[in-house]
């Protein structure tokens, strides 16, 4: 990964940008649905019916995205970022990938432990991945909430960093990830 390309690519490649923005929309929708559905009576069922298949889609996409990343050349950080800041950025990426993988998996696991059928659409449903245990369900249910709030806070930090770089430092950090092809700086 540390191979230096001759031209010094300045932007994430097209597939990475596409997956980033697709998942950004899905994950934000998911966070909103998640926090709304647990406080809702009238919309609960409708929201849960979206929450489950959307979670499975995110689980599949994060795996694809991780594999895709391993085969892609990453653009450099801008010179405005200190080594500490780069470490933090790297750690937050690791955290985001981990949460995007773990949250749906914990959701699947907790429904398995409660022996809820995990209906995706119509008669399509997932198989259980854990034994029937209500204690395990209770633990995973709390874990799911904790990880979801952690994901939201991580997203806020990620968003704050981008806003700071775009509006205050103005180093074009965002151009590495914009959906369109950015002019080389």
């Amino acid at each position: 990964m540390s191979a230096i390309t001759t031209t010094g690519r300045q932007q994430f490649n097209g597939s990475m940008r596409f997956l980033h923005w697709l998942m950004a929309a899905m994950v934000l929708t998911m966070l909103g649905i998640g926090v709304a559905m647990v406080a809702s009576l009238g919309d609960y069922h409708r929201l849960v019916s979206i929450h489950r298949p959307l979670g499975v889609a995110i689980l599949i996409l994060v795996v694809i995205r991780f594999v895709n990343r391993q085969f892609s050349t990453l653009p450099p950080f801008p010179p405005t970022m200190s080594p500490q800041e780069r470490s933090i950025a790297h750690a937050s990426e690791v955290l985001l990938y981990s949460l995007l993988f773990l949250l749906p998996l914990v959701g699947w696991g907790m429904l398995s432990a409660a022996r809820y059928p995990i209906v995706l659409y119509g008669s399509l449903h997932l198989f259980p991945i854990l034994p029937h245990s209500v204690m395990l369900y209770a633990f995973l249910r709390r874990t799911h909430t904790f990880l979801a709030y952690l994901l939201f806070l991580t997203f806020v930090a990620h968003f704050a960093a981008i806003l700071f770089h775009t509006l205050i430092v103005r180093d074009g950090l965002l151009s590495r990830m914009v959906p369109w092809r950015a002019r080389a700086r």
Partner: protein, 382 residues
């Protein structure tokens, strides 16, 4: 975060070279321009972030403390019935049963659900009494419940939770909740305040009408010879894509006998069920009532008119009984919206609310220590 001299130190750059994205030397890039009006830009950033966090909290109901949520609903059940570790927050007292459903194939024209194709599917269930006290004394007037889970061959499930009332007393979750609040025991008398109950009835004509219907049906003397009503309407879709609204009822094969009202022992309803099921398997016909256009499909307080088409789709047989302590049914949430393909919820507001509230109750009791059930394994064996 601002660029510093240290950033330009090649040693530091090398030190972070293993970081992903570190593919070009930093010296290539010009230093960013310093921008004016920094405080205003910081203010914009703060506002945007506050907006994001605010939107998230708003969606979670943080700014509407009066909003009826599953948590607040179950809190109210707990205030009325107490917290009994490991037990359901309503219909707390129960016993578990197993058996099977034998479909006669008549339901196929209403729904493509596999459960209605001719054949047999295993069923696990739980008989219960309404109320939050798992050690309540059996009374003929207490609502009786039957939760069932049908396990379809392809891994699909159908769950339903029915009660022995021909009409539901509350048209929406708010009415149910307001009645719970009105029936909270007075701290001095430990009894609900009759004036509050009367005030609730006076302001809820749906409830008063439903109670009149309920009172015209004297309860039977047992769990085994009671009819159980699904009450909420569901939308069935058959293989041709045609849909119809239905309500279902379990009509007992065991003949109806009215209760005598003579004083009996604490668990007489459960003991009667256990004795009966140990003598012979208990059976009910599963009857689907099909709505006509105009029949209320979103209000369980109003029974549909007499003469609606009824389809007997098969027979439920329950042939074994078990204490909650040893039965897997204790750990099943009989969520009425666990439905196979071919069955969908109507717009009845109770359905989504029941799903949400059952889930809340299930989540709370799941993590608690399980106290012994009133109907113990030895009670079932004796």
């Amino acid at each position: 975060m601002a660029p510093s001299e240290a950033n330009r130190d090649p040693k530091t750059a090398n030190g972070s070279a293993e970081l992903p994205g570190e593919t070009a030397p930093m010296e290539k890039h010009p230093a960013p321009v310093n921008v004016g009006n920094k405080p205003a830009r910081m203010a914009v950033i703060s506002l945007v972030l506050l907006g994001v966090v605010g939107a998230f909290l708003y969606l979670g109901g943080w700014f509407s403390p009066e909003k009826l949520t599953p948590a607040r609903f179950v809190d109210e059940f707990e205030r009325v019935g107490g917290i009994h570790s490991g037990f359901r927050r309503n219909h707390a007292k129960g016993v578990c049963v197993q058996g099977f459903f034998e479909s006669n194939g008549q339901g196929v024209r209403l729904s493509k659900a596999v459960v209605f194709q001719s054949g047999r599917v295993p069923v696990i269930g739980r008989f219960s009494l309404g109320g939050g006290d798992p050690h309540a004394t059996d009374e003929l007037s207490t609502v009786r419940g039957l939760g069932l889970q049908f396990s379809l061959p392809d891994g699909e499930q159908w769950r339903t939770a029915m009660i022995d009332l021909p009409a539901f007393p509350f048209k929406d979750p708010q009415a149910f909740y307001d009645n719970l609040v009105a029936s909270q025991p007075d701290p001095n008398t430990h009894q609900p305040d009759p004036a509050k109950g009367a005030a609730f009835l006076a302001s809820h004509s749906d409830t008063a009408r439903a109670l009149a219907i309920i009172k015209s049906h004297a309860p039977s003397n047992g769990f085994d010879n009671a009819a159980y009503y699904g009450l909420n309407a569901f939308r069935f879709v058959n293989a041709d894509g045609a849909s119809a609204y239905v309500r279902w009822t379990l009509a007992p094969v065991q003949p109806y006998e009215a209760g005598t009202g003579a004083s009996q022992n604490k668990n007489f309803l459960f003991d009667g069920l256990i004795a009966s099921i140990q003598q012979h398997p208990l059976q009910w016909h599963l009857v689907m009532t099909v709505a006509q256009p105009g029949d209320p499909t979103d209000n369980a307080t109003i029974p549909w008119p007499e003469g609606r088409e009824q389809v007997d789709v098969g027979t439920l047989t329950l042939d074994s009984v078990e204490s909650e302590e040893s039965s897997p049914a204790r750990d099943i949430n009989f969520d009425p919206l666990v439905l196979p393909a071919g069955m969908a919820p109507s717009h009845d507001p109770l359905l989504s609310a029941r799903s949400a509230i059952y889930s809340q109750s299930y989540t709370r009791r799941a993590g608690e220590t399980k106290e012994p059930s009133e109907i113990t394994p030895s009670e079932v064996r004796k």
